[in-house]
Subunit: 491 residues, 2 copies
């Protein structure tokens, strides 16, 4: 029953690429760097969206929609933003095609050149702050707490499904506030919302922290982030929340009259997570047999496969199963009864293992006789025979157990892969031979950070919010440091 | 308490444009033809999305996501599709910008020209059928029942908020089937889903029908549609469902082995509705005082405004109101208690009237004394005093009543604006002086249809599915006809 899946130990990157395609999550399209998210993958993304959207609304945000296109000149308005973003972008220059002289092909109509080129949004701060100018006059119009679910485009040269694609799906929150303090509270709140979501919904442990100046968002004064650790020891930035100061308000002239009637610039945040989280999901939990899904994210939480030789057996099994299905659905557990006769049980076992269905139930003639079901866990690959009177409670408990055990397993792995080092030799050794986060002292300069990156490919993933203040010497320069930061190679 | 809203009788088009902006539904952006959908408008769109998505899933469809960009050459593959679509499109020609010589502005990098231009999708048949080729080998892979929620771009020259914008939001279903009959059943099913949604959720009566060859989707063999009638007597196409035959399968070489093992081309449908429905919503129910929303679509179904002089009164009223709010929320009724002291009750009444909140409850000192609430309907502008013990049931019934009365009112209007005519003089007279659908005999030729359009601006909106077969003479040419078709001027 081979799935022809490369082993993680052989080639982690190949394993990932194969798994994403074979588990029907996504595939490459005919357009360079743009992916097709297949129904099974999209169903997982929808579950993420629904949970995040609920959390955003609970924290007072509303959704809205802003244009896909941004006039080129908007990008020049915020100086550091243009450096960080406006370069690798899809540029619309024309608005019409015409039939070629052969009457068959079509070509760009040179008469339909735009006066000003339009950029397909790589992120929407500029177009949104151009809009907020019209929405804000007084402190009474603040705060604006808006989120957008959208597609964005960044012309990446080397792309990988979910992790780095030219087009991806995301949400971007953009808020406007009357005070600096309120904006900072908002940026921190959203980092906490993301961390809660990653850990308690996706079962992915994350480190909360802030980025160094080097790694900060283009236009931000502070970038908060959540950093996850993949099974191959590389870090993955799973979400960011930016305190933007008054930078965009100044660039787009968004002022308000405060309670004293004085004009002031508005304070801003932005925050986002993307379909990249699908990559984090795969690389946190899955194994050599395929996808492993936390029950919260599984489009099918329980699959039931009948094992039978005769039609009579199938009929009897179906009767038992239908009763069980009805009971599980009442508990909002998503169940699929796969009674297709076109495929053998072994084929089905294999298929649902590949697709990461958390719980598989089988029922054969012996189970029928004994009044039992065989219940198998995808994550541990273990089986248990359960009496049919107990099975509903058993399944309900098991789904919760799998959810929390997946988190704990990932947490153990992550915690055992944060290594404190005190010399650059050790630093390199850990990076090369163990991987994970390297907790090291750093002198606080961008120069040293760059140098370490050049020497090791490791970057500072974050300055953890819970880091211990301690005196130390920079692992590279020996200059004084006030605490350790987390380095890692990263996706 | 003027809202400065133009009266419908003065200038319907101006009324619409003003209302969309003043009611906070949408506004124009800095990008020509692209709108910003504001939070209040987007909240209504989300309700439409949620209901449609539920209906799509109940009919067996799954969501997926396909690329925003389509290589130019894909459009040439389906001959009639390219004629209908590929002309007014946003064309991406470059993938990079660079800093200009002044070091400040940015310009398109001429070195980053794409080998093949990319079209921002105006609709996704081509990219999706290019993908389906990889998904289909055998009849066992069929049907594919997929829907996508996405943004699309059509470079319209004259744009109007929601009704015709360069970028708009929509869903597009794309299904693949083993047989012609199954594909036709699917296309008809989705037309019925749309009609059910329009009538029973949006309270918009629609005529179900098929388009003439002239009005058919580019690449379709049959276009099913639902046609609505706006208050100014113009028709609006509210949704379409296309039977595409094997056209796209042939263009993209999508074949399958049927049950007999023979290769055949796959049969297709596509179907969509868009943010245009927001325009239909406004122009079906609203009035000179602002928006009128059916309760199903109202982000706030009930607003409660306290009327008080003293803080003590407000406290007493709040106590009563909070009890009521809790009871209504238990029934899944969305309630807002607007106890802001920064705005007067009159201002609030005006605001919620403009925004179409279906039910407004006021409570003042007298109500407090008498144990009553004042309940006002937005649609009829009538008020009723209701005892507090009865108010929960009263509200619940009232919301259902408003929903059905709005539909009936629109249905009466629509039915009284389908006029049978038997001469071209009458045809023109009705169009000019009464408006609405004109039911007339037509000789079935595209030439006559075109001529009538040139003479009157009216097009055949549809051949209604329930039309009576009857012998007649074409209203323009006198040639024989087998039944009446519905003409109208249209959005």
């Amino acid at each position: 029953m081979s799935k022809n899946l490369t082993k993680r130990s052989e080639d982690y990157s190949k394993w990932y690429n194969e798994l994403v395609v074979k588990a029907d999550l996504a595939e490459n399209s005919g357009v360079r760097g743009c992916m097709v998210i297949k129904p099974y993958g999209y169903a997982i993304w929808e579950k993420m969206q629904a949970e995040l959207d609920k959390k955003f609304k609970e924290t007072g945000h509303q959704n809205a929609y802003f244009p896909l296109f941004i006039p080129k000149s908007y990008f020049s308005k915020e100086a550091s933003h243009v450096d960080g973003f406006a370069k690798e972008c899809a540029v619309v220059t024309h608005y019409r095609l015409k039939t070629g002289e052969d009457g068959k092909t079509i070509e760009v109509d040179p008469d339909a050149k735009l006066e000003e080129e339009l950029i397909v949004r790589p992120t929407s701060e500029t177009i949104i702050w151009d809009t907020y100018r019209k929405w804000v006059q007084s402190y009474r119009d603040l705060p604006i707490l808006v989120n957008q679910w959208a597609n964005v485009v960044r012309w990446e040269m080397r792309t990988r499904l979910f992790l780095r694609t030219a087009e991806f799906l995301w949400q971007e929150g953009h808020t406007a506030h009357a005070t600096k303090a309120e904006a900072i509270v908002e940026a921190e709140q959203m980092m906490n919302v993301y961390a809660d979501f990653a850990e308690n919904f996706m079962a992915i442990p994350v480190v909360k922290g802030v980025k160094t100046a080097n790694e900060r968002f283009a236009g931000a004064e502070e970038t908060y982030c959540i950093e996850a650790l993949m099974q191959d020891g590389k870090a993955l930035q799973a979400g960011t929340s930016h305190f933007l100061g008054q930078n965009f308000a100044k660039a787009f002239d968004v002022k308000f009259a405060n309670q004293e009637g004085k004009q002031d610039y508005v304070w801003a945040t932005s925050w986002g997570v993307s379909t990249r989280l699908m990559g984090a999901l795969v690389m946190t939990h899955s194994d050599d047999n395929g996808l492993v899904l936390p029950p919260n994210l599984a489009p099918i939480q329980v699959v039931i496969v009948p094992i039978h030789k005769t039609d009579e057996q199938l009929a009897e099994i179906s009767e038992e199963v239908n009763t069980l299905v009805a009971k599980l659905r009442k508990l909002n557990i998503s169940v699929k009864f796969d009674d297709r006769t076109t495929h053998k049980p072994g084929w089905k076992f294999n298929e649902y293992e590949l697709k990461g269905v958390p719980v598989r139930i089988a029922m054969g003639p012996k189970d029928l006789e004994n009044g039992t079901f065989e219940v198998a866990r995808r994550d541990t690959l273990t089986k248990e025979v359960v009496a049919k009177d107990d099975v509903v409670n058993y399944i309900q408990d098991l789904l919760e157990k799998i959810q929390s055990e997946l988190f704990n397993k990932a947490l153990d792995y992550r915690n055992s892969h944060i290594t404190e080092v005190n010399s650059f030799e050790e630093f390199k050794d850990i990076l090369d031979n163990k991987g994970g986060f390297v907790a090291a002292h750093w002198d606080g300069t961008s120069e040293t950070e760059e140098k370490i990156k050049d020497l090791t490919k490791a970057t500072i993933r974050c300055i953890a919010l819970d880091r211990v203040e301690e005196e130390g010497q920079c692992v590279l320069t020996g200059a004084p440091s006030k605490g350790r930061v987390l380095f890692a190679k990263a996706y």
